[in-house]
Amino acid sequence: MDVTQTAAVAPATPVEERRPLVEMRDIRVSFGGVHAVDGVSVDLYPGEVVGLVGGNGAGKSTLIRTLSGARPADSGQILVNGEPVTIHNPRDARAYGIETIYQTLALADNLDAAANLFLGRELRTRTGALDDVAMEAATRGVISRLNPRFKNFKVPVKSLSGGQRQSVAIARAVHFDARILIMDEPTAALGPAETAQVRDLITQLKREGLGIFLISHDIHDVFDLADRISVMLQGKLVGTVDKDAVTKDEVLGMIIMGKLPGALTSQEEEQLH
């Protein structure tokens, strides 16, 4: 838990030469007759941030929930480090080093920050009892670095502000040895200062070699941070583009019109402004 001990920084090799951390191929999920995710393929390399954007209801959350084990895909393939894996539940995902900040935060409102942070992987004493003191100590350490003003460690998270609750969810995802981090609208409830903290955090995690899926309905949230951007519309993947090769407006065109940058007519480009 010592801040000075920074993990090995991944060498800045070009993305193309390395094996992807995650490949999701032809993923499909439907609810009743609704094709929420319809044949989407995305991938993620170590030390990379992939922005996953699209309007509300585009299927972003449903797609990444198949990776986090919250709801397995109806069909499609997931590879981690090149190996095909089956992820039936969140435990499977965690075993592959996949950590998730859910859009809903997935906090048990009646429990305090420490109980939520360690939910499902509690620290225990030699007798197998919960080691609440150790969990609280670790929680204080990890959260106060994320959000120095956070003080309410002993109260149910129900009584915390939206930003503080989000801090708890983020702390939970980064406290354990994640290789792959999924952040579904992680700054939705945060103020400017806290948002800046999260952005710093993402930059550092990326430097440490984690792969991050950063999800947002708003391109402005992810454009500066992302290396590549995957755009979804109505359950389908519009395309994946290198951030350096596009402008925000072009991505906006993908989000709204579902067309790749070259395919926009000048008239459509006008409409975006």
């Binding site: 920074t6 965690r94 075993a95 009646n110 499902g120 919960l130 204080r140 670095r145 009584s159």
Partner: protein, 446 residues
Amino acid sequence: MSTPTEGTLVEPTTPAPVTGTEPGGTRRAGFASLGIDTRLLGMVGALVIIWVVFHVATGGRFITAQNLWNLSVQTSVVAIMATGMVLIIVSRNIDLSVGSVMGFVGIGMALLQARILPNDLGLGLENPLTLPITLAVGLLVGALIGAFHGFLVAYIGVPAFIVTLGGLLVWRGLAWALASGQTVAPMDTTFRKLGGGADGAVGETTTWIIAGVACVAIVLLLANSRRQRRRVGFEARPLWADAAIGVAGCAVVIIACWVANSYFLPENLARAYALRNDIPWPEEGTLQIPFGIAYPVIIAIGVAIVMTYIATRRRFGRYVFAIGGNPDAAELGGINTRRTILLSFALMGVLCAIAAAVQIARLNAGPSSLGTLAELSVIAAAVIGGTSFAGGIGTVPGAVLGALVMQSLQSGMVLMRVDAPIQDVAAGSVLVFAVAVDTILRRRST
């Protein structure tokens, strides 16, 4: 599985040492720093008021050693089951079958010790093996019935209300069928100790030993908690607060034991006791031989301590509360929610069996009506004790106090010779009133 990541986080922009400052910077002072559940304290207050009112209304017959001793024994059966009902309700379920399961298991245990073991298996009457065999079979059957309910709820997806409503009818019917509607009696002499009564108390010396052990345990627990928090550099509660809690806790223990030791055996039982223990009977007057704490009370307190430990210090309990607070979050946290629910019902079944053993021992019989309507008292005790049907909230000590409140009302009204139907009216009204007050207070606090 995972180890904490070293240095995954951003370097703090401002140093953020681990401090022990409490919520929101609001300094907690005075009474609040005792860190005691105010709801629990409120219930103790309500209990004291009830006792005083009844004491006055009955012309001084309520707060007597005899009545309080009886009250403690009568509360045991409901309290034992209420500790399990807390976990069931906390996980957003309900168990309506506890009275019937208690009846079925109790009559089964009565049959086992009164007929099957002595006659069919040839152990004869008063065999030392009767008690352990009967208890073991009873607890196992209780666990299996509960696990079966839990399986239907958690793995098949039938709502707990339906499963246990069916169970209420099924086990009641089977309980009747077990003994063809007859009352099974008598119970094994050793077994009867579980129910209290003349031989069912530990006596004066053991009671004081228990008091001593309990006081030492309270002090050690408080000291340990301080040491734990110091270990990681948290501020512990102020010393005076810990001292106050320790003194209050020990005082309650000592007073309770003193009350139990102030209730003396009636003369005929005292004579029998004196004869058995070679104590000469005095020429004049009588011997005052204290009952001490009754076995069923010791069982109930033991159950409450174990259940508190399970609910607050074990992973299983944490998971029950997490499921009650947010089932999706529990699932996404990787908790095996189905297994947790199944286990909570199995535990409830075990507690029904313990309660059944106490009750048949107390009655010295297994009547076919055993446990009838017990589900209502048990649910009422849990709910009066602060367990919320919304899920995620409830405490074991609260439920025990809730059972004591309900039983105090009932026995107070019996002492006042209130008619049975009116007793029901009062008990029902108190239940709804208590929950209404609790709901209003809860809403205000958030």
